[in-house]
């Protein structure tokens, strides 16, 4: 018997509860990853546009039916505006589109408009304001994303509540065993950290599995979401992977901290001797 073996023993013993813990963390992380990787919200794009170095940028987005017309359009625009500050920001992998960042100049905008009219590839321009209007009117893609977000919110809330429940049950069950270990020479601090290590391991496994699941699901969801959206209207963005990671870490920290807090409060409050003397009756 080593401490690691004891930990495995308890994970195995509590497998029913821990399965719930695992699945809940997994679902949250899969959802997180999918949302972050299929981010169709216009807000995201707008905030990215706002965050580009030049504060006065026009964010202009184009949708094309194929890659060659995308290139053609881009070339004709850059030819029209020369070196006056147009910059290719993104080129989508899922839908062919371009985003240009252009300093706010009426003359430039006019040049671009002319280029657009004369190139004949049939694309439309969206400025920041247009995008805002699209956002307000609410499109299929936006709704889809809001549904995902709502789902995440519900899952996270129920996970948080579920986690506390799972932990309390598993703790109550464990107190008898813990008090025996206490009598046999374990310190309270050692028992608390051993218990926390268990939760940490289980949620870590859930988070890892959820991330993998999310990564697998993301492309499908993206295509599905795209199909539901009006491609001609909604500018699609790209996978902000770093954002997903940060977001995921944040949620994971939240889960760990919440569980740790519950465990600490409970175990600190437990009188080990009472468990020895009076069992569950006090």
């Amino acid at each position: 018997m080593t401490k690691a073996k004891l930990l495995r023993h308890y994970i195995k013993m509590n497998r029913g509860l821990y399965r719930a813990l695992f699945v809940q963390t997994m679902v949250v992380f899969a959802l997180l990853f999918v949302i972050a990787n299929t981010n169709l919200t216009v807000e995201m794009q707008l905030s990215q546009a706002k965050n580009t170095e030049n504060a006065d940028v026009y964010d202009i987005m184009y949708e094309f039916s194929d890659e060659s017309s995308c290139t053609l359009a881009y070339d004709s625009i850059t030819a029209a505006i020369g070196d006056e500050g147009a910059e290719l920001i993104m080129k989508s992998t899922v839908f062919i589109n371009i985003r240009l960042s252009i300093p706010e100049q009426t003359s430039l905008m006019e040049k671009i408009q002319t280029a657009v009219d004369s190139s004949g590839v049939g694309y439309s321009i969206y400025t920041k304001n247009t995008v805002k209007q699209i956002e307000k009117s609410g499109s299929g893609a936006l709704n889809f994303n809001s549904i995902l977000k709502l789902l995440l919110l519900i899952t996270m809330t129920s996970t948080a509540i579920g986690l506390v429940g799972v932990l309390l049950i598993s703790l109550y069950r464990r107190e008898y065993d813990l008090s025996i270990q206490y009598v046999c020479g374990a310190s309270k601090g050692g028992l608390i950290s051993a218990t926390l290590a268990e939760y940490f391991l289980v949620t870590l496994a859930g988070a890892a599995a959820g991330t993998v699941l999310g990564a697998i699901l993301s492309p499908f969801v993206r295509v599905f979401a795209g199909a539901g959206a009006d491609v001609g209207v909604i500018p699609l963005s790209f996978a902000p992977k770093a954002g997903a990671l940060v977001y995921g870490l944040f949620v994971y920290l939240f889960i760990i901290l919440a569980t740790a807090a519950v465990t600490l409060i409970r175990l600190r409050a437990v009188d080990m001797l009472d468990r020895v003397r009076y069992g569950d009756n006090i």
């Binding site: 018997m1 080593t2 401490k3 004891l6 023993h9 013993m13 065993d177 025996i180 270990q181 206490y182 009598v183 046999c184 020479g185 374990a186 310190s187 309270k188 601090g189 050692g190 080990m272 001797l273 020895v276 003397r277």
Partner: protein
């Protein structure tokens, strides 16, 4: 080895205060076998828990091998419980989901005894209590007498200086009780382990070398 001087212990506050131990003193030397008797509720268990570093006391002095127990850190107290003191309870108090072998190993794990050394010791202890063939059986599935013998082996696993036994035969039939008490005698004779035995049974108490009434 153990010296309790003028120990006071009470439970509750104000009007509901209950004085359990008042000005209690006791000296235990290595190899002592002491029985403790007294009417129900007089504080025998409380005394054992104080000796076992599980319960605090209000005033007085508790020295273990000359060291003041009240000045020990949480870590030191845990070490006391694990290495210096062996506990045997009326209701056995084994971890039900672990095997006999594993239950005996628990204190050794917390005492950081190397695994090789543990194995030899556990095998010896199991044969000592006549339970070698039960090594891998879950504690929950043992009979009461068997559980108590495993609990005694567990109490012995770190070669403690003293065993504190709180009515160890209270839940056992006569034959199993006899097994347990003769096991205590053997431990006391062979290893020189001091034993403090709380019991209601005069026949069991008479097996001790020294007697004390609370």
């Amino acid at each position: 080895m153990i010296s309790l001087k003028n120990i006071y212990k009470s439970y509750g506050k104000g009007e509901a205060v209950r004085n359990v131990l008042t000005d209690f003193s006791l000296d235990i030397a290595p190899g002592d076998f002491i029985s403790i008797r007294g009417r129900s509720g007089c504080g025998k268990s409380t005394l054992l828990y104080i000796l076992g570093c599980l319960e605090s006391y209000d005033s007085g002095e508790y020295l273990y091998k000359g060291e003041d127990v009240s000045k020990m850190s949480e870590k030191q107290l845990a070490r006391m419980r694990g290495k210096e003191i062996g506990f045997v309870f009326q209701s056995f108090f084994l971890i039900p989901s672990l095997t006999c072998y594993e239950n005996i190993e628990i204190p050794m794990m917390y005492a950081d005894i190397p695994p090789k050394q543990r194995k030899d010791k556990i095998i010896t202890l199991l044969s000592e209590i006549g339970m070698s063939e039960y090594a891998n059986q879950k504690a929950a599935t043992l009979s009461g007498g068997q559980q108590q013998r495993v609990a005694i082996a567990r109490a012995l696993s770190c070669d403690p200086g003293i065993i504190l036994a709180d009515e160890p035969t209270g839940n056992l039939d006569e034959a199993s009780g006899e097994d347990v008490i003769s096991l205590f005698e053997r431990i006391n004779n062979d290893f020189g382990t001091a034993i403090l035995l709380v019991t209601h049974d005069p026949a069991v108490a008479s097996r001790a070398k020294l007697h004390r009434t609370l």
